[in-house]
Subunit: 190 residues, 2 copies
């Protein structure tokens, strides 16, 4: 057994149990008056992410993050506890000011991801959401202080768990971004 | 046989013939008074690159580009024909004003690649230089107008030619960049 830890969801071997997951309620980590955010419908592109920006549970090396259409996101309770972590960032991560959990992060700027919100499915009260399908920005864990000498083991562990490792997003999303950019520049027909 | 074309060097199945390649002279495409740039010692990290910034021969979808220490680069002839393509870019690509071939591109700014120059080995007068070893920024060819519907075929063709496709740089270089960044931020010990 390898001792490489990725994230509790991944390490536990979590698998989706409900092929027709249709949303649920995200809850922050506060014992009292938790922020609650409703998500209508399924999430998409769930993945492990090594970048330094997303909320991670204590001890996790990667975050687990997915998207939902922003129009399907609604703050249900304790919205006064939310604040945007970095207003200059592309993703407007709304975090609970008390426990620090990021509850949703809409992209509002002109961008291929405009209209989507990034959410952490592990915060759903229920289960059934799709398991992570790949690992993005793997090399970036080094920027959080992870030992570069262990990267081969990290990538091997991710593959073992069925998460193909990428140092950016996966090819489908990278092609999607490039296509949007090409259309935006007039290089491809809209 | 697939009809997917990558770059003449790749399509021709070029393989290095000289394990002890020790440099040579890069020559631009001008019939008279060509720019000549001497490279002392071997090149490194030769790869196919899909980004929109590098010089490519007519009809090529990818460029082929490698690095050499800038201290090993010397303009030998017709330096007056050289101009920097984009002075604001990280890589100061010095191109021949007449034929357009990029002759060398030093990184002078504070960056993990500072002190390296990007060169196109196919411009060497001789052969023997290392063949490309991977493909970087593959999704970016879409930004040059390449049909997104053909990307699966492009990645398959690259793999067939022994060039693992990445949408950024390869893991070794991405880890190298992240390590430099972590040290620069004080997150890892220098």
């Amino acid at each position: 057994m390898t001792s490489i830890s990725i994230h509790p969801t991944v390490d536990s071997g979590y698998r989706a149990t409900d092929a027709s997951f249709s949303g649920g309620t995200l809850v922050c980590n506060c014992a009292s008056n938790p922020v609650k955010v409703g998500i209508k419908g399924d999430i998409a592109h769930n993945h492990a992410c090594g970048c330094t920006k997303y909320w991670k549970p204590e001890g996790a090396v990667f975050s687990v993050v997915a998207v939902a259409p922003t129009e399907n996101v609604e703050v249900l309770e304790n919205s006064d506890k939310l604040a945007v972590v970095d207003p200059s960032a592309l993703i407007q991560r709304h975090a609970c000011k008390e426990c620090g959990v990021h509850m949703y992060g809409p992209v509002e700027r002109d961008h291929p991801f405009k209209g989507l919100s990034f959410v952490h499915p592990e915060r759903f009260e229920g289960k059934g959401w799709a398991a992570p399908g790949f690992a993005a920005f793997v090399s970036s864990i080094i920027e959080s202080g992870y030992d570069p000498a262990n990267m081969d083991a990290v990538r091997a562990r991710l593959k073992e768990q069925g998460l193909e490792p990428y140092d950016c997003l996966n090819p489908a999303l990278m092609d999607y971004i490039a296509t949007w950019t090409a259309k935006n520049k007039g290089v491809l027909a809209v």
